[in-house]
Structure formats: structure tokens, C-alpha cells
């Protein structure tokens, strides 16, 4: 069994005391609320994708939106990934603010030309004449027995393309706040959810809630090492930090939230405090985004480090099917505990 995932998000530090009222909700509900509020706020916002109408999306993120906004704004499509993403690019170029729901990130290969050669580059190629305010929402990750074609973590693909922003929320509150910011952003934003986060619960601010892109969040403070992570591994890291505390190790957990643009300042500040870096992600280690973070810290804060930066990540393998095998290839809580102990010890 995966660790308990109904971790309640801590209120964001530095909120100035006047935290708005919150409501407990699932991550999928938080996303749904962001969609609903933004669609109410701006009629140019539309959702386009497969099975998003009556069915409410493969993960229920668009549940109820058809009734509220009708079939032209909740535009259900045939199975045509590049056609859908390309139509969103064209719509974004001409005045709409489309949100594409791509059922699995594993299908993004089918649409990749429109993401990489069109959406990401239009502004640049046209010398600033164009804006592409679209969001490509999709989900990835393992843990549900969906096997190799429905379980990947492909954030490194998108991080390597100039012109995209890349967001991976871990908590319901961040899911709502970051999706709101992504919809309001004038650039193409890749918004990667995790299939095992949809049914996690947390306190989510009521009403308008915006988490600006490009700001990491310290999910737990500590002084002995910095664990930098994102998406579902944030929950694992928090649980690991709890166990480490019992062993007398104070781990700081930094959730990057936005991989592009990356909040370098927050990461550097944390490492300057703890002098040790552990990067954790579910995606395979080779050429993973953790390498980018480790290299960045090594380049910019080498003298601050008391130990070499360490990466803990998925094995260089497709995701296997059997439950015990699936768990064996991506970092689990005990793996994080072990890696942290080794780094500190």
C-alpha cells in the first residue's frame, strides 16, 4: 500500500496571519473548482478534451462543468490528440484561453509537435507578435497498476523545451491556486497532475486563490538537509521527514511546484541553511529534472555544500505492472529515509 496520502496541507507560511477560510476537498475537486471559477470569470476560457462532458473526465476533474457551461465551452472531442492540442494553439493565438485535458501524459507524444514546434515557439518565432495563453492539463505517474503506457513521469521532456512553463502541484490547495495562475498566464503552460493525488484531501482556500507560477513552497522546515521534490513525492518526502525527525534529523521539504520557471532563490536559500541536498522524483533518474536541480545547486552554491548533492529517482525502466514491481522502481518513503540518513550520516 502506498503511504497515507490524505495529508492535510499546512497553511502556506508567510500568509500574514489573515488566512482565508478553507474547505477540505479532494485534489480533483480543487482542480474542478479552479476551472469553474475561471470559466465564470472569463468567457474566453474553454475546456477541450476527450470524455470531459457527461463523463466528467477520466479522473472527474471536469465533473459537472458540462451542465454549468454547456457543450461549446466544455468541448468534448474525438480521440485526436494532435488535432485537439493544435486547435487549442490556434484558439489561443486568436483570443480564447483554452485548457486542453489530455487523458494521460503518455499520450503527449501524439500531440508533441503542436506543443513543441508550435505553442512553445510561436511567440519567439514571430518576433513577439503572438501569445499562446493555453494550458495543457494532463496526468502522469505510477501506482495504479496501469503499466508502462499509462504511468510515466515525463516532466523532463517538457522542461527541455524553451517557451513552455511547467507546473506539478502536490496538494489540493496548490492544485487550485496553480491552475488558476496557469489559466491566467499568457504562455503555454504544461500542467502535470498525478493520478494518485486526485483522491488526496486537503484544506483549500475558498473563492479566488492564486499561487503565482515560479514560487517554490517550503512544505516543512528543517535544518539538517534539504529535500527538493514535486508532485506525489512531496507527500512521500513529508512522511519521510516525519520519520527522520524521530531519528533526530530535521529535513526541510521544498516543493518546487513550478519546474519552469524554477524558483532558484528558494532552493539556494534552503541549501545555504542546511548544506545538504537530496532531490527526489518519480521520473527516471537519467536526464531527469533532478539532474538540473543538482547541477544548478552545484554551480551556484558549491561552497555551501557539506556533501555531494544526491538524487533519488525512478529506475531507468518502463513502469512494470505487478504491484510490488511497480513500487520497486520509484522512490518510496523508506527509500527517502535511507537516502537522507546516508546524506547526513
Amino acid at each position: 500500500m502506498p503511504p497515507k496520502t490524505d495529508t492535510t496541507a499546512e497553511p502556506t507560511p508567510g500568509a500574514g496571519g489573515h488566512s482565508p477560510p478553507t474547505r477540505e476537498m479532494f485534489y480533483s475537486e480543487a482542480l474542478n473548482e479552479a476551472l469553474r471559477l475561471e470559466m465564470e470569470r472569463d468567457e474566453r476560457v474553454i475546456v477541450i478534451g476527450e470524455d470531459i462532458a457527461e463523463h466528467g473526465g477520466a479522473f472527474q476533474v471536469t465533473a459537472g462543468l458540462l451542465d454549468r457551461f454547456g457543450p461549446t465551452r466544455i468541448r468534448q472531442t474525438p480521440i485526436s490528440e494532435i488535432g485537439i492540442v493544435g486547435a487549442a494553439v490556434g484558439a489561443a493565438l486568436t483570443g480564447l484561453r483554452p485548457i486542453v485535458e489530455l487523458m494521460y501524459v503518455d499520450f503527449s507524444g501524439l500531440a508533441m509537435d503542436q506543443v513543441v514546434n508550435q505553442a512553445a515557439q510561436n511567440r519567439f518565432m514571430f518576433g513577439g507578435q503572438a501569445r499562446v495563453p493555453m494550458v495543457l492539463r494532463t496526468q502522469g505517474g505510477s501506482g495504479r497498476g496501469n503499466a508502462a503506457q499509462h504511468s510515466k513521469s515525463l516532466e523532463a521532456w517538457f522542461a527541455h523545451v524553451a517557451g513552455l512553463k511547467l507546473v506539478m502541484p502536490a496538494t489540493p490547495a496548490d492544485a487550485k491556486g496553480l491552475l488558476t495562475a496557469a489559466i491566467r498566464d499568457d504562455n503555454p503552460v504544461i500542467f502535470l497532475e498525478h493520478k494518485l493525488l486526485y483522491r488526496t484531501k486537503g484544506a483549500v482556500p475558498e473563492g479566488e486563490h492564486v499561487v503565482p507560477l515560479g514560487q517554490a513552497d517550503i512544505k516543512r522546515e528543517g535544518t539538517d538537509l534539504t529535500i527538493v521534490t514535486w508532485s506525489r513525492e512531496v507527500l512521500f518526502a513529508l512522511e519521510a521527514a516525519g520519520r527522520l525527525a524521530e531519528l533526530g534529523i530535521a529535513a526541510e521539504v521544498v516543493d518546487v511546484r513550478t519546474l519552469v520557471p524554477l524558483d532558484k532563490g528558494a532552493l539556494l536559500a534552503s541549501v545555504r541553511k542546511t548544506h545538504r541536498l537530496l532531490v527526489v522524483h518519480e521520473a527516471i533518474k537519467r536526464a531527469g529534472y533532478g539532474a538540473e536541480i543538482a547541477a544548478m545547486i552545484a554551480e551556484e552554491a558549491f561552497d555551501e555544500l557539506d556533501a555531494p548533492p544526491k538524487r533519488l529517482a525512478g529506475l531507468d525502466t518502463p513502469i512494470p505492472y505487478a504491484q510490488h514491481l511497480e513500487k520497486s522502481v520509484v522512490p518510496q518513503v523508506e527509500d527517502i529515509v535511507a537516502a537522507a540518513k546516508e546524506l547526513v550520516g
Binding site: 488535432g83 490556434g90 508550435q118 518565432m125
Partner: protein, 321 residues
């Protein structure tokens, strides 16, 4: 299919401008002033001219790697186009895009495209915007015979048909996709028959006759504008030059090229019927030719005066703020 004098001369002027633009770019390329690659639209002018004559500035087009003609027909500034080819800050894309990415969003040109078939879904999305916002704008996607075999063609035509989007798909069948002749790329002789598989009209026109293109496009644009949905328009055509500047054309014979060029020239064709129908005289047409050359000269001179493209500025060049 009667056409009045003003329309005939407008169409002629646009076609002549495209031809002269291509001739001058070819010359500039030969002088090593243009970097990279250019693809000449010579021979295919009637398609862009005939279709764009029905478009307003707020209608959209998506174009291709062979995009100069579409750009001009949609009303672009020739100086800014040349400046782009010359890598100047004053170019449409400030030297960041070049021939294969010229866009003029002020005139609804959503860009040339270096990806074969890349513009087809984008035009479809533009049409979605028009439908969603309840305007009467239309979108036109120009693409080649080669692009008609891309997956984007299939997905986009189906989406447009089920949603009745105001979009016109204009397939320019210039007989080749780079070196591949259409005969070896299609098992059907008439690409327009594909339209029926999507549930939209498929119309085949003679891309040499700007009147025929103009007429077919009128109907397709009217259909789109009035909410009746998309059309596939296939124009038979021929590119006079190689696939790109410097193409050795090993896949063609000299006889073929010379025969087609003579037989298939929309500009010579237009001169003939304009004179025969007494819409204008040879002297009027020559005067247009002369004035176009003057316009091209001035555009090149203006472009050459522009400063070189400014250094890349990050993140502003890449990200909107």
C-alpha cells in the same frame, strides 16, 4: 464566372507581386544576402490571390514553408517581409523567424510553418475562436499535397466537420512533396474526394485559373461565414522552381519542367483572358508590372536600411509577461 475589371486587375497585381517577390528573393539568395532556405511560390500565385481576395483583415490564415505568397495576398508589407529574410530588426519577426516563420498577426496571418501539416489544426482552432465568440470571421489553412497525408489533416477535418467550424482547407497540389510525386503518394487521383469521408464539400479547381479559384473560394468562404461549416478546396498547380532554392531537381526531367512552366503559368493565363475579355489592355498590365517592380525595389531598399536583428533577450523574447 464573370469578373469585373477592378477585381481582375487586383488579382493580377497580387499575383504579379508574389512572382516579383519570389524573383527578387531568389536573386538576394544568390547574392548570399538571405540565410537558410527559401521555397518559391512561383507558379502557384493564383491560389493565394484567388482565396485571399475574399478575406478580411480580421480573418485568419495559416501558411506553410512555401508561404511568401499567402503572406502577400493577405496584405503584408513587402518591406517587412524582405527585412525578415535579410535578418533585420525591422522584419516581421525581428529576424527570429525567417522565411519559414513569417507571421503578420495584424493581418490575421498566423504564420508560415516549418512543419508540414503543422498549420492545419491551428487554423481549425482559429475557426473555433470565431464560432465560440460568435463572430463571422473565417480561417483558411493553406497546405500542400504532402501535408494532406499528415495525421493533422485527418484529425482537423473531422473536428471541423463535426463542429461545423468556419474554416476552409486549401490544399495546393503542386504535384510534388519535395521529391515525391503525388502519383506515388495518393491512391486516388482527386484529393478532393477525401472530403466526403469527413462530411464536407470537396471541390477541385484549376489552380492555374485565378478566376476558378476565386469563384470556388467565394462559395467556400460564404459557406463558412454563414455558419454552414468547412470546405476542402483542392487546387491543381505546379511549382515552377525547385522545392527550395538550389534544389538540383533530380526527380524531374528538363522537358517536364519546361513543358509545365509554359503550360502552367497563372500570370500568363490571366494576361490572356484579361485582354481577350477586354477588361484591360496589354499596356495596362505592363504598367502594373512596372509599378510592382518599383514597389519591390523600394521594399528591398527599405529592408536593407534596417538594423540587424537585436540580440536575443531572455526571457522576454520567449515568454510573454
Amino acid at each position: 464566372m464573370t469578373i469585373d475589371r477592378a477585381t481582375a486587375l487586383d488579382l493580377y497585381r497580387v499575383m504579379r507581386t508574389i512572382r516579383s517577390f519570389e524573383e527578387r528573393s531568389t536573386q538576394l539568395f544568390g547574392e548570399n544576402k538571405i540565410w537558410g532556405t527559401i521555397h518559391s511560390y512561383a507558379g502557384e500565385e493564383a491560389i493565394a490571390a484567388g482565396v485571399c481576395a475574399h478575406l478580411r483583415d480580421d480573418d485568419w490564415i495559416t501558411s506553410t514553408h512555401r508561404g511568401h505568397g499567402h503572406c502577400i495576398a493577405k496584405g503584408a508589407d513587402l518591406g517587412k517581409m524582405f527585412a525578415e529574410l535579410l535578418g533585420r530588426e525591422t522584419g516581421y519577426c525581428r529576424g527570429r523567424g525567417g522565411s519559414m516563420h513569417i507571421a503578420d498577426t495584424s493581418k490575421g496571418n498566423l504564420g508560415a510553418n516549418g512543419i508540414v501539416g503543422g498549420g492545419i489544426p491551428i487554423a481549425t482552432g482559429a475557426a473555433l475562436t470565431a464560432q465560440q465568440l460568435g463572430t463571422d470571421q473565417v480561417a483558411v489553412s493553406f497546405f500542400g499535397d504532402g501535408a494532406a497525408n499528415q495525421g493533422t489533416f485527418h484529425e482537423s477535418l473531422n473536428l471541423a466537420a463535426i463542429w461545423k467550424l468556419p474554416v476552409i482547407y486549401v490544399c495546393e497540389n503542386n504535384q510534388y512533396a519535395e521529391s515525391l510525386p503525388v502519383k506515388r503518394a495518393f491512391a486516388v487521383e482527386n484529393i478532393a474526394v477525401r472530403a466526403s469521408g469527413y462530411g464536407m464539400p470537396g471541390v477541385r479547381v484549376d489552380g492555374r485559373d485565378v478566376r476558378a479559384v476565386h469563384e470556388a473560394a467565394r462559395e467556400a468562404v460564404a459557406r463558412a461565414r454563414s455558419g454552414k461549416g468547412p470546405t476542402l478546396l483542392v487546387a491543381d498547380s505546379y511549382r515552377h522552381e525547385g522545392h527550395y532554392y538550389g534544389d538540383p531537381r533530380k526527380y524531374q526531367t528538363k522537358d517536364e519542367i519546361e513543358g509545365w512552366r509554359k503550360r502552367f503559368d497563372p500570370i500568363a493565363d490571366a494576361r490572356a483572358w484579361i485582354v481577350a475579355d477586354r477588361l484591360a489592355g496589354v499596356a495596362d498590365l505592363d504598367a502594373i508590372d512596372l509599378s510592382v517592380v518599383g514597389e519591390i525595389d523600394r521594399a528591398v531598399a527599405w529592408a536593407e536600411e534596417g538594423p540587424p536583428a537585436s540580440p536575443i533577450k531572455l526571457p522576454d523574447d520567449v515568454y510573454a509577461t
